[in-house]
Symmetry: C2
């Protein structure tokens, strides 16, 4: 697949707190929501892997032409880790992040956003 | 698989610059090095996915019981993005990061390390 990234990418990383645990246990719906948001922001999905832990917890990674996303649920803490790295330019991935946030309705978020410079 | 994470995890994210492009084009050796380092730090690998781009560039994500790593090469810029998130406690993943750094011998690194608190 041919893809020439620009020199600056964007990394969003956050933990969302105070989420209704039902939303975190319904991993199929959560995965659908994330994939739908990525498609809407015109990311190209190359591959998906996920794993369910016992007694709880779910982890998801999606490889994109434009880099990757990762998600981990902590229903026992009503928390959700989400990160997205896009090499498509700054502020990229923000729409996907907003869609996930809108779906999970967290009470608070530890959020960070970092510019990734690949050329020096 | 049963795994109960602690309440604090660690996220390392970096871009390494000034790497000999031969090391970035040899993706098999790079992948072996990363997997070896993860095994040495006693991470449990659940799944691996990777993709080679044309004309260059390689992307790798590894799902761990303890969360995930992601890596992207930019041989055209002599650069390498690497991130590791471990929910096994603070400073975790540092040995894997050091092993990868030692292998790639970058001239400079944009590095960040963030404590991830999943319980609020």
């Amino acid at each position: 697949m041919s893809y020439q990234p620009p020199e600056v990418g964007n990394e969003i990383s956050c933990v969302m707190h105070g989420i209704d645990e039902k939303l975190l246990y319904n991993t199929k719906a959560l995965e659908r929501k994330i994939i739908g948001a990525l498609n809407k922001e015109k990311f190209t999905i190359l591959d998906i892997m996920s794993h369910k832990f016992k007694p709880h917890g779910y982890t998801l990674a999606i490889l994109l032409s434009e880099s990757h996303i990762a998600a981990h649920t902590y229903p026992e803490y009503n928390s959700f880790y989400f990160s997205i790295y896009s090499c498509r330019g700054k502020e990229d991935g923000a729409k996907t992040y907003e869609a996930v946030k809108k779906y999970l309705k967290p009470k608070s978020i530890d959020y960070s956003n970092k510019k990734i410079v690949v050329k020096k």
